[in-house]
């Protein structure tokens, strides 16, 4: 188990302005696969480097099990790491690259080479053992880096954007392989990525970072269905969630969010506390949670079709309110058969319970109580 407790990292010791990680708390269970996901510059690499021991936290504690490792050197942490650039040693052959960490542990050469051969078979590069890194393709280099990281049977595997240099097709293959390998070896793995699809696909839990803070740390489906705040909601999902400005109003015990284009009635079961009445909120609806309906539906909202894009598997429809009073369009997804054309006026409704309301008076947290 890895525990990060209130980790702060300032690159320039005293200066607060150089803060890259700002009070991070994270617990990673043994054998778990965790992704650190966030926009560029949010402190993912910094966090990983602190786990590796290549950077020292300014304050806070890092535990591996019960052992405080803040001041343990990287070489004594028993970690394997794959860098974004792969960082293979250019002067060594693939065999020597994989054997390098073993040789550093004073393993006899013959044995180290034997193990290197084994590892290379697992990642399917055993025919390349005598090559130099410069004679390998990007995908092959990536495999060598994996083999090198795993050769010493590490307790923790750290991956810093290991797939960002691969093409889209290869990415998918490598992703599955990494996941399979990780399951087989049961090694606790932390991957850094800014590719949300990758993070959601591969990990048991995802920590979403922004501004050096964890926004939400949960399994992928929970992040998707129950985002804790506006950042998580808007960061995840493609096409992104619709976020519509509105104000909470109550009339005869019925609450509604009034936007410039329409009024959305909040179901009885989801009623907000009274203190939110009259306050600004954002209504969040995923494009998949809007659907077409007919005019007889009491919840129907009339909209004008602005644009229709074909996604292959369906259509992405952008709509405006009839009077065009809203600042932004609303996106939703329909199947290919739906008769939607540019300029049409359609009726749509929000899927029951599939909406979020974010408090805009404070930090944008989600007002919906789940479960």
């Amino acid at each position: 188990m890895i525990t990060l407790r209130n980790i702060v990292k300032n690159y320039d010791g005293k200066k607060e302005s150089s803060r890259a990680v700002d009070g991070l708390d994270l617990v990673i269970n043994k054998g778990e696969f965790v992704a650190l996901l966030g926009p560029s510059g949010c402190g993912k690499t910094t966090t990983l480097m602190m786990l590796a021991g290549l950077l020292k936290p300014t304050s806070g504690e890092i535990y591996f099990g019960d052992r405080l490792v803040n001041h343990v050197e990287p070489k004594d942490r028993n970690i394997g790491m794959v860098f974004q650039s792969y960082a293979l040693y250019p002067h060594l052959t693939v065999r020597d690259n994989i054997a390098f960490p073993l040789r550093e542990r004073k393993m006899p050469k013959a044995q180290a080479y034997e193990r290197a051969k084994e590892m290379s078979k697992i990642v399917q590069i055993d025919h390349l053992l005598d090559r130099k890194p410069s004679q390998l393709s990007g995908g092959q280099q990536q495999r060598v880096a994996m083999a090198r990281a795993l050769a010493k049977d590490p307790e923790i595997l750290l991956l810093d954007e290991p797939m960002s240099n691969l093409d889209a097709r290869l990415k998918l293959d490598v992703r599955d392989e990494i996941r399979k390998l990780q399951r087989e070896l049961g090694v606790t793995t932390i991957i850094v990525t800014h590719d949300q699809e990758e993070a959601l696909a591969i990990s048991d839990r995802v920590a979403i970072l922004n501004g050096g803070k964890i926004q939400q740390y949960a399994p992928p489906e929970e992040l998707f269905s129950q985002p804790v705040n506006l950042f998580v909601a808007s960061f995840l999902g493609n096409p992104p969630m619709n976020l519509i400005d509105g104000v909470v109003q109550e009339d005869k015990g019925v609450q509604a969010i009034v936007t410039s284009g329409f009024e959305f009635r909040i179901p009885e079961a989801r009623k907000l506390e009274a203190k939110h009445i009259g306050k600004p909120v954002k209504l969040g609806i995923r494009p998949h949670d809007l659907m077409l309906t007919d005019g007889s539906d009491p919840n129907a909202i009339a909209m004008k079709v602005d644009l229709v894009e074909h996604l292959g598997s369906g259509k992405l429809v952008k709509v405006m309110d009839a009077e065009q009073k809203m600042q932004s369009t609303i996106r939703f997804v329909t199947d290919n058969e739906a008769p939607v054309r540019h300029g049409d006026t359609i009726q749509m409704k929000i899927r029951e319970d599939k909406f979020h309301i974010f408090d805009m008076t404070e930090d944008g947290h989600n007002l919906m109580q789940f479960r």
Binding site: P74, Y89, P133, Q141
Partner: protein, 276 residues
């Protein structure tokens, strides 16, 4: 004739014309060493310095072989010292954070472009005070001081090119910081070390001024100093044949060395790390 062949012909003529003087010079150089100009016959008289001490017009110089030995020992020692100091120093400048690094770097740059000759009187005075005049130690101190800033600067450039990832990877893989330096960084910058070794060697091999200034015993000279002795002002009669002959003997190893090291540079492999 098409324009492209015309262009080619022009280019070739141009190149030939430009290289001709150089070729002529080399040919003449060989001739001067191996021909008796008064009789116009081929002769190896000028190469008698191989077997006996040089002596003409009142100048007496020792036999050349001990001088050759001096040259080899001196040059190799300079290479060892200068490379041994500049590589770790350059690493520190490139990779470590320490107080006064910026100022030290600026000073280094200043020293590199500073004409050392202007300091020579002070240097001489200091060496006299320290009792290091007429010793190899004195010459080496002054010589290394002069060339280190340049070498450190070049070497720093090579270290700057090494991605941090490689060093970090080594440390995660079980080396200490020094281990990473030794096992990963040094091999990575090997071509740079080769380059500064060549510079250091050529500098030492061609050093005559310091020998002229600080060494009074002729049998302590190196080849460059030896050659310089032959062209002294006091005796105006210069034995041209002798100078070119010794000059030839002096240059040949450098040419061979150059061809050899050039091959080595070609082989050095700089790949394997994709930089993002």
């Amino acid at each position: 004739m098409t324009t492209s062949t015309l262009k080619k012909a022009l280019a070739h003529t141009y190149m030939t014309l430009l290289t001709l003087p150089i070729i002529a010079m080399i040919v003449w150089y060989f001739l001067a060493a191996t021909m008796n100009f008064t009789t116009g016959e081929f002769s190896l008289d000028n190469f008698s310095f191989f077997t006996e001490p040089v002596e003409y017009s009142g100048i007496k110089l020792p036999l050349i072989w001990p001088i050759v030995l001096n040259t080899i020992v001196y040059s190799l020692m300079i290479v060892a010292i200068e490379v041994g100091i500049s590589v770790p120093t350059a690493y520190a400048f490139s990779r470590l954070d320490f107080k006064g690094k910026g100022a030290a770097l600026k000073f280094l740059f200043l020293m590199r472009s500073f004409p050392g000759i202007t300091l020579i009187i002070a240097t001489f005075f200091i060496l006299v005070k320290m009792g290091l005049v007429n010793t190899y130690l004195g010459v080496m101190l002054v010589a290394t001081t002069g060339s280190l800033p340049g070498l450190v600067y070049i070497m720093k450039g090579f270290f700057d090119e090494v991605p941090w990832d490689i060093e970090w990877a080594a440390m995660v893989d079980g080396t200490t910081r020094f281990g990473a330096f030794k096992k990963v960084l040094v091999p990575y910058v090997l071509s740079g070390i080769g380059a500064i070794s060549v510079f250091a060697f050529l500098g030492a091999y061609g050093e005559w001024f310091l020998f002229k200034l600080l060494i009074f015993n002729d049998d302590m000279l190196t080849l460059a100093g030896y050659l310089a002795k032959l062209v002294t002002k006091e005796n105006q009669i210069v034995n041209y044949g002798l100078i070119t002959a010794i000059g030839l003997f002096y240059t040949l190893p450098v040419v061979v060395f150059y061809i050899f090291t050039q091959k080595m540079f070609m082989k050095v492999n700089m790949g394997g790390a994709k930089q993002s």
